[in-house]
């Protein structure tokens, strides 16, 4: 039996399904003879807080300048200590804007030695504002892979999702990263772009979008990057509010569920990722973190963990999971 969600939402999963005429995600899995269980965990995703300089309309965490939740140095020390105990091949720093956590440098310096692959989800406009030169030197010295949000090559689409002037500022920061060697062949400094749709529709095919972005960014601005990832927007937080206010919620949920791809379930990131929030509590993914649904349905602090999470434990699901199983899936 898949654990029940204890969502902050007032409606239960079944009630929300009924309201949207949707089959609950758990039922959809069962109908396909599937279960969502944890595999061998290989990634520690650290959400260092919800403070952000932007108020993106698709943000499932409702991050922004008015949020106060931020990971303390003490919690960062507990996260680093756990990473040393458990040994993760990949560590992925996210937020909010991670750049706005004053202890980000401490985290990078201390976790890099135990993280064979260290990634940071950079908000390019925050990276341009917050201790830029110090952070960039630190990222280069520790071979931090930078994953930068970059939804579209069109200013109107990017700015409508992320705020006025964001495309222009992002281009300036990407130029700086390229000048430092990020995204350039032979430097070993990896720069990836992440594109989320700028509305209530599914993302473009990753391969085709990557080709187009590469051609366009090279031709127009002389920019280069390593990989582009396209992800569906998850109907939680600020994006869910926008969907409801704009009258798109029902049709978007139906679109997601109609695009359910049973083959995507095996590769879902929640099967191999452990997410820790700004307070040090553990979740199966950043979306269950947004929902307040703990790892395997049980509230546990990172300081209580000795090893990697047990493979085979069931992952709590909800209808937001349809966003990760639509099309080629969210891996």
């Amino acid at each position: 039996m898949v654990p029940e969600l204890t969502s902050a939402d007032t409606l239960s999963d079944a009630e929300r399904s009924s309201a949207h005429g949707l089959e609950p995600f758990s039922g959809c899995l069962a109908r396909h003879g599937l279960e969502l269980n944890r595999g061998q965990t290989n990634t520690l995703q650290i959400n260092v807080g919800l403070i952000c300089n932007q108020v993106c309309r698709h943000c499932h965490l409702e991050a922004g300048p008015n949020r106060s939740e931020i990971m303390s140095k003490k919690t960062i020390e507990e996260v680093v200590a756990y990473a040393k105990r458990a040994s993760f091949p990949v560590v992925d720093i996210t937020g909010g804007a991670p750049e706005m956590n004053p202890h980000l440098g401490y985290l990078i310096e201390n976790i890099a030695p135990v993280a064979p692959r260290l990634m940071m989800r950079a908000n390019l406009t925050a990276l341009a504002k917050e201790n830029t030169d110090y952070l960039l030197r630190l990222c280069m010295a520790n071979r931090v892979v930078i994953a930068a949000s970059f939804p579209a090559v069109s200013a109107s689409q990017t700015d409508s999702q992320r705020g006025k002037g964001v495309l222009e500022k992002s281009i300036t920061m990407l130029k700086k990263l390229n000048d430092l060697g990020y995204g350039r062949d032979g430097t070993g400094l990896e720069l990836n772009l992440v594109s989320n749709p700028t509305g209530a529709f599914l993302p473009a095919s990753q391969d085709q979008a990557e080709k187009r972005f590469r051609r366009y960014l090279e031709t127009k601005w002389g920019l280069s990057f390593n990989n582009l990832f396209t992800f569906a927007n998850v109907p939680l937080g600020r994006f869910r509010t926008w969907l409801a206010d704009s009258g798109n919620l029902d049709s978007y949920m139906k679109k997601l569920s109609a695009s359910f791809n049973p083959c995507a379930v095996e590769g879902l990131m929640c099967r191999t990722l452990l997410s820790v929030n700004w307070e040090g509590y553990l979740f199966d993914c950043d979306f269950n973190l947004a929902m307040g649904v703990y790892l395997a349905g049980r509230k546990r602090h990172i300081s209580e963990m000795d090893d990697l999470p047990e493979p085979g434990t069931q992952i709590p699901t909800g209808n937001h999971c349809y966003a990760c199983t639509a099309g080629s899936g969210f891996t």
Partner: protein, 110 residues
């Protein structure tokens, strides 16, 4: 029936196969193959389809290919330019017939 065009009917498109399944299969197989990436990308084909949808003024097609264009990464600017192509061809197709009008008028006139 309140209206000839109801957005709820669009998902029923595949139902036309109930009466003539073999023909429907041929059509939908062909349709799928046409829109797969080839010499043109899926995004370019979606923009062409959007332009044609405006030319044939099919509300179902406009709804479907507006969404498809967005899902293939097209911007509203590109989609608007595509519809201007429709408009230019439709307008041009009228205007170019003025050559006939002028030829006939010249023949009849002193």
């Amino acid at each position: 029936m309140d209206t000839y065009y109801d957005p709820k009917d669009l998902p029923k498109f595949a139902d036309i196969g109930e009466e003539a399944p073999e023909l429907a299969k041929k059509f939908f197989d062909y349709y799928g193959a046409v829109f797969a990436e080839g010499e043109l990308t899926e995004r370019e084909k979606a923009l062409i389809a959007l332009a044609v949808a405006h030319a044939v003024q099919c509300p179902y097609c406009i709804d479907a290919y507006t969404q498809t264009c967005l899902e293939r990464g097209a911007s509203l600017g590109e989609m608007t330019e595509a519809v201007h192509v429709t408009t230019a061809i439709r307008g041009g197709a009228s205007l170019v017939h003025a050559t006939q009008m002028r030829k006939i008028a010249k023949k009849l006139s002193m």
